[in-house]
């Protein structure tokens, strides 16, 4: 049975200024990734990235991105991602970098990892905001937001 296998790269967009994150959209990341692959690997890279490469999901609040590529050449595309230095959106340039957290075969496995990662983040941030109960509840809300949106994406 022939099955087109793909790899989902779970990346986090890291910016120095969190308010800039809200400006991003998936088209900006798509163009930036394609340009980086074309610069690093030339015409061959540009051709590969036009096959089955897409941005599946973007969460502007937490900066989590899902990139989907073909299993046969996901390594090539992945090796060009560290060279992204900024994202452009509607004429505004946001300096940032992509940090790849996990590579999975399906969205479900990536989602399982994301839940574990978010609980770790929560454990990290919890000691910092003992006094601000509201910030704690905001983080909890983001966690729910992530998982709910992913279920929406799956269906």
């Amino acid at each position: 049975m022939v099955r087109l296998k793909s790899r989902y790269l779970l990346c986090e967009v890291c910016v120095s200024d969190r308010s800039n994150l809200l400006l991003l959209d998936d088209r900006a990341i798509y163009t930036a990734a394609k340009a980086a692959v074309a610069r690093a690997h030339g015409d061959y890279g540009a051709a590969l990235s036009s096959l089955g490469f897409s941005v599946k999901y973007l969460n502007a609040h937490t900066g989590i991105v899902f990139l989907r590529c073909r299993k046969s050449h996901y390594r090539l595309i992945w090796s060009a991602l560290p060279f992204i230095t900024s994202l452009e959106n509607r004429g505004q340039r946001v300096p940032c970098f992509l940090n790849c957290l996990h590579v999975g075969g399906t969205i479900r496995t990536c989602q399982k990892f994301l839940v574990r990662y978010n609980t770790q983040q929560l454990h990290r941030m919890l000691p910092l905001c003992q006094s601000e109960g509201m910030r704690w509840s905001q983080i909890y809300f983001l966690l729910l937001f992530c998982t709910l949106l992913l279920f929406h994406c799956l269906s």
Binding site: C14, S16, R39, A40, R75, W78, S79, L81, P82, F83, T85, P95, C96, F97, L98, N99, C100, L101, Q120, Q121, R124
Partner: protein
Amino acid sequence: MAVFMDLNITYTTDKKRLRSVIETAAHLGYSTVAINYVVDLQQKKQEIGKPKCVLELFDTFPIVQGKSRPIKVLNRLTVVASDPSHFRPNAEYKAYDLVAVYPKTEKLFHAACMTFDVDIICVAVTEKQPFFFKRSPVNGAIERGVFFEISYTPAIRDSTMRRYTIANAISLMETCKGKNVIVTSGAEKPLELRGPYDIANLVLLFGLSEGDGKAAISTNCRAVHLHGETRKTALGIVHTMKKDQPLTERQEEEHVPVSKRAKIETV
């Protein structure tokens, strides 16, 4: 989850920037970082100053992402040398946890691999290598436990640097077959750091295999750290500590670190 280390963060006098770089490194998952003080002895008489105490930077170190320990910060000295007389190990070197040398000539590279008391030899990434790597000094360095370092931040900044980095890295890999290599950032800003898995993938471009790539940022870096620690001890067995109270004679303490216990048993 292996222990990832980033052994090259350029020292800046701007404390806030240094602090944000270390916080980003902790967020990305690096358990240990080393602040690099670069000394170029050719330009006007530069003194090798004492490294700044790490406790000055932070009250509490940021916790590493994915672990419960705070990040560890080391001090490292890089000597840019074009003359054998530039490198003179003296007491000032002892204040640093790691010592590196950046050789500019073939003769110095040979001397650094065989005789110098260093932990790391930096490979040029910002210019075309003026000399070729020969098998004999490289193999001698591997036997001694000296590591070769490749820095990736110039490749991110500029396209011509990218070509030099890849060219020099590949010529190194051909000679050393992927052993004893570490990959570090040369980050000055927090946006120039990259995650450990991204770097492990990037080194595939340099000609390293998958296992070697992961080792380049985890186990090899740990070996460099231990190599730096043993430089302070006598043959790696006896570790001396200066006591605070004034004494008539200096006391030597037999202190066997847990990490070295296995080595002593085999020896």
